[in-house]
């Protein structure tokens, strides 16, 4: 058993639902108890969709368990196939159905249905949502394209030149309940159009079964969301010889690298390095003097693998922040996140344990948290500004306005969203100088429009027992030391407290006075 206050991902069948609901003409029969239909709300409320997800649940109840639940599965499959007449049918189980083992996929395969039936084996007690989505997309692509696969995979991504048409690529990975997929797709389509590259199939978002069958007709695959698409892209590479891109175009530098990779694979001349400066506003905004105070701001990053990696690069190379924590809940991406963390001189946090992430965050004492909806909870507890960069998300991160993360416009959106929670420069200076104001008090952020800003109690309030448990008894702060500490501007106070305590411990001092604090400050040159 694992104590879970917040879970970073849903169960794998929610990933399968994301694939089915993203597509047209695919229906999903899900063997699940009454109540699991809550997942419909993810699509009708969070994604605000105007149609029901294409999912039929068996919704068995306790009294059905005494009877023939297998018969219930067959009846549900029959009714769903007749009513919705899908082009392909997915059949699978939720966690409770997995326990009673009715083999719904095998039952459906034996019913002589006219459409392709894809059986989903999604182990709910060991795998999670993104894995479920990736596996479902992979099984669907494989089932639909297997008959087409050549004996010897041969595919030339430069064939478009000989045929005399524009190069054509597929965008693989965008889905409902992904982070800003809707606008990322538009942004990447626009970007590719500018470079004379056509988009063939976008899948799963908006694709039909016939679109999946057209995938091999493109020159290569763009793997936009590796968490969802990498297994399908690899299979397409193995079976058809189609190469795929590895760079995720989030951030100005990454978008440039993505364009270079894509052009190289397609045999085109690489674009110039100044396109990003010309087409995105992030570079100038970040260079302009108003952004100078952003230099060295301590940031803690956590999210899915792709978004965390992208954020780390943007923070350190494009915004001039100092990354003091980097981690992901995507175990599949652990290796690359570890490598990125190492380059930043950090140890990557690979965990799906919310409490562990909260403890690491408290330990790093950042001035900004870039994370998921879950990090907003811990950031609130610790009184740290926070922006959301990755799923899990809630309804406010499916906005009406255009808000991609990818490409040039994505970088603009990112600049605004990540800088917004920080205290504005002038206010930061004035609060550092005058601490006796009746309105602009410690921790207050007047641009966020509410009184008092961060709760004063949040910083003073002793860290949670979980956070404290691994620390031994530390040196004691004198009244004079505490008073000096209070003079440190709010957002760096946590770091200064920690540094001073570490220093005092190293030096074997039992008390921390104002002098100790200044000693530590000089010692750490900060």
């Amino acid at each position: 058993m694992q104590l879970t206050l917040w879970t970073y991902e849903g169960p794998p069948h929610v990933g399968a639902m994301r694939i089915a609901a993203s597509m047209h003409g695919v229906h999903y029969v899900l063997h699940a108890p009454q109540g699991d239909t809550y997942a419909d709300l993810l699509f009708t409320m969070i994604e605000r969709r105007g149609q029901r997800p294409p999912v039929t649940y068996t919704t068995f109840q306790a009294r059905d368990l005494g009877g023939d639940t297998a018969e219930l599965v067959k009846r549900t499959v029959r009714e769903a196939a007749e009513r919705f007449r899908p082009d392909a049918l997915l059949v699978g189980e939720s966690c409770t159905a997995e326990l009673i083992q009715d083999q719904p996929g095998a039952l459906a395969q034996g019913m002589g249905l006219s459409m392709p039936v894809v059986t989903l084996e999604l182990p709910a007690y060991s795998k999670k949502e993104n894995w479920g989505a990736a596996e479902t997309l992979y099984q669907l692509v494989r089932n639909l394209l297997k008959p087409q696969a050549p004996d010897q995979p041969q595919h030339d991504p430069k064939a478009w030149m000989a045929v005399g048409r524009r190069p054509r690529v597929n965008l693989i990975g965008p889905s409902l309940l992904g982070f800003r997929c809707r606008d990322d797709v538009l942004e990447i389509q626009r970007l590719l159009t500018v470079h004379g590259i056509d988009v063939g199939v976008v899948a799963p978002l908006g694709a039909e079964v016939s679109d999946i069958q057209r995938i091999p007709q493109a020159d290569l695959n763009v793997c936009l969301y590796p968490e969802i698409a990498e297994s399908s892209c690899s299979w397409l590479e193995r079976s058809f010889g189609m190469p795929f891109t590895r760079t995720v175009p989030i951030g100005v530098g990454a978008t440039h690298d993505f364009l270079v990779e894509l052009h190289t694979l397609l045999g085109m001349d690489s674009p110039t390095g100044e396109e990003g400066y010309r087409c995105s506003r992030l570079p100038w905004y970040s260079e302009s003097v108003d952004s100078t105070y952003l230099t060295g701001k301590r940031v803690f990053i956590f999210g899915d693998g792709s978004h965390a990696l992208a954020a780390a690069r943007i923070c350190s190379e494009e915004l001039g922040f100092k990354v003091v924590g980097l981690g992901t809940y995507s175990r599949e991406m652990a290796r690359s996140v570890r490598a990125a963390a190492k380059e930043l001189g950090l140890e990557a946090l690979i965990s799906d344990d919310y409490l562990e992430v909260e403890a690491a965050m408290a330990d790093a004492a950042p001035e900004l948290v870039l994370g998921t909806q879950m990090e907003r909870h811990s950031a609130k507890r610790l009184g740290i500004p926070c922006a959301v960069i990755s799923t899990p998300m809630h309804v406010q991160d499916v906005p009406a306005r255009n808000s991609p993360q990818m490409g040039w416009e994505g970088a603009n959106v990112i600049f605004d969203a990540w800088v917004h929670p920080l205290m504005m420069g002038l206010e930061e200076h004035l609060i550092g100088m005058f601490r006796h104001d009746f309105e602009f008090v410690d921790g207050h952020q007047s641009h966020l429009g509410h009184r008092g800003g961060t709760d004063q109690a949040a910083e003073e309030h002793s860290p949670s027992p979980v956070v404290m448990s691994h620390e031994e008894q530390g040196p004691v702060w004198t009244a004079d030391g505490e008073a000096e500490l209070k003079k440190i501007p709010f957002f760096v106070r946590g770091k200064v407290r920690r540094n001073t305590e570490t220093y005092a411990r190293q030096e074997g001092r039992l008390e921390i006075s104002s002098e100790t604090l200044y000693d530590a400050k000089a010692h750490y040159k900060a």
Partner: protein, 424 residues
């Protein structure tokens, strides 16, 4: 009984009882709800409540993993470990609810025994109780019935003459009702659930129970077993229902009728004024209520009798005929009341009938709106202060608002091309 009762079975679109945690955690802030289940259960609750940002979580899930299922880890040891870990983090918790789920029930994990054992270990510092919120056993609000049932054995015994209001009420509504009962002459009024889980009301032969909510079958039964008298009455929704509900208690307390009338008449008069604008909006409109919370029958009764609506179909997930009898008697002859659901067939009926308003869950609300059918999402009804004579206007407003909204924005959002342009 005039209603036309029928049963339907098939696919259902309802919440499981775990969802009750979403409001119970606010009613009793010193309690913690630990679900023993799967990642699906954890995902359900956080999808429902996670839009709020919690500095201190009030609920969590002990997620079963493969070792637990394979029997490699002793489930009871594991549960003890998780509970200790949690209580170390949150020493201020006073009541820990172990909430059963579909997975924990299918594998027959004995949470009753676990809570007994933990109670022994914790020696009264924290009270541990258990109930089931699984989808296979419970639908939505039945989770509250489970939670309150779990508390009943812990209520202190008392012989005091008192009125007990059973079922979650909004704080302001509770205060108002207590005040009104005092004016009527009932001095001791207490509530289950209380606002602090440690302040449980007493129960005994002197206790008269008024159910504020229609979904408390099991709680009512257990209160009876503790010697309390549970009154049978329409539920306190709308001016009429609330008045009958209060009068039922007054009769049991032998209060003089003229005094009761003197207190309630002005309230009812005022409620009529508050209802008037909504009644104008709702009269003659046709409504379907899909099954969700068991509030559907009292709501249908209120909307028909006090707001003039026409009931096309009233669905309920579960019908306790004895408890609902006073409500059913107030429905017009031949009202179609459906217990259970086949969601596809029910939606076919909705589309055929094309009612003016459909009360439904959030999984169906936006899709029906996109088809041009106005909806009122039903969950809001368990999150809103709707009980009592004074709330009748507010309750009606919940139903008139979506209709008024459509009238307000539809013309501008769907302009007719024939309209002359302002520049023409």
């Amino acid at each position: 009984m005039g209603a036309n009762l029928r049963k339907e079975s098939g696919p259902r679109e309802v919440f499981c009882g775990l969802t009750s945690i979403v409001w119970l955690h606010r009613r009793m802030p010193d309690a913690f709800f630990l679900v023993v289940g799967s990642r699906t259960c954890a995902h359900l609750i956080q999808s429902a409540a996670g839009v709020m940002i919690f500095a201190e979580p009030r609920f969590g899930t002990a997620i079963l993993n493969e070792r637990d299922l394979a029997g490699l880890a002793d489930a009871h040891d594991e549960l003890d470990r998780v509970a200790r870990e949690l209580l170390a983090r949150r020493p201020e918790i006073r009541t820990l609810f172990l909430v059963g789920s579909c997975p924990s029930e299918v594998i027959k994990l004995d949470l009753a025994r676990a809570s007994e054992r933990l109670n022994e270990e914790l020696q009264g510092r924290v009270r541990v109780v258990n109930y089931s919120g699984s989808g296979i056993e419970t639908t939505f609000t039945e989770g509250e019935d489970g939670a309150l049932s779990a508390l009943v054995p812990f209520l202190p015994s008392t012989d005091k003459r008192q009125l007990l209001l059973a079922g979650t009420l909004a704080d302001a509504v509770e205060d108002r009702l207590v005040h009104l009962f005092a004016r009527l002459g009932i001095e001791t009024v207490c509530s289950l659930p209380p606002r602090q889980s440690t302040e449980l009301p007493g129960v005994g032969p002197g206790t008269t129970v008024l159910l504020t909510q229609p979904f408390l079958s099991n709680t009512a039964r257990l209160l009876k077993e503790r010697g309390a008298k549970v009154l049978s009455s329409p539920f306190p929704l709308g001016a009429e229902g609330s008045r009958r509900w209060m009068e039922t208690a007054c009769r049991d307390f032998n209060l003089p009728g003229d005094r009761v009338a003197a207190v309630l008449d002005p309230l009812e008069e005022r409620a009529r004024m508050a209802l008037a604008p909504h009644r104008a909006e709702l009269t003659g409109k046709r409504i379907v209520l899909l099954p969700e919370s068991q509030l559907e029958i009292p709501l249908g009764r209120f909307l028909q009798r006090e707001c003039g609506m026409e009931l096309v179909e009233v669905g309920t997930p579960y019908l306790n005929r004895e408890q609902m009898a006073p409500e059913l008697e107030l429905l017009p002859e031949g009202t179609d009341v459906t217990e259970g659901q086949h969601v596809e067939q029910q939606l076919d009926r909705v589309r055929d009938q094309h009612p003016d308003l459909v009360v439904c869950g959030m999984g169906l609300a936006n899709p029906l709106e996109a088809e041009g059918i106005t909806t009122k999402w039903s969950i809001e009804l368990v999150f809103s202060p709707i009980h009592g004579i004074d709330q009748a206007g507010d309750l009606a407003e919940l139903f008139s608002r979506p209709l008024r909204r459509r009238q307000l924005i539809h013309p501008a959002l769907h302009p007719q091309t024939s309209n002359p342009s302002i520049h023409a």
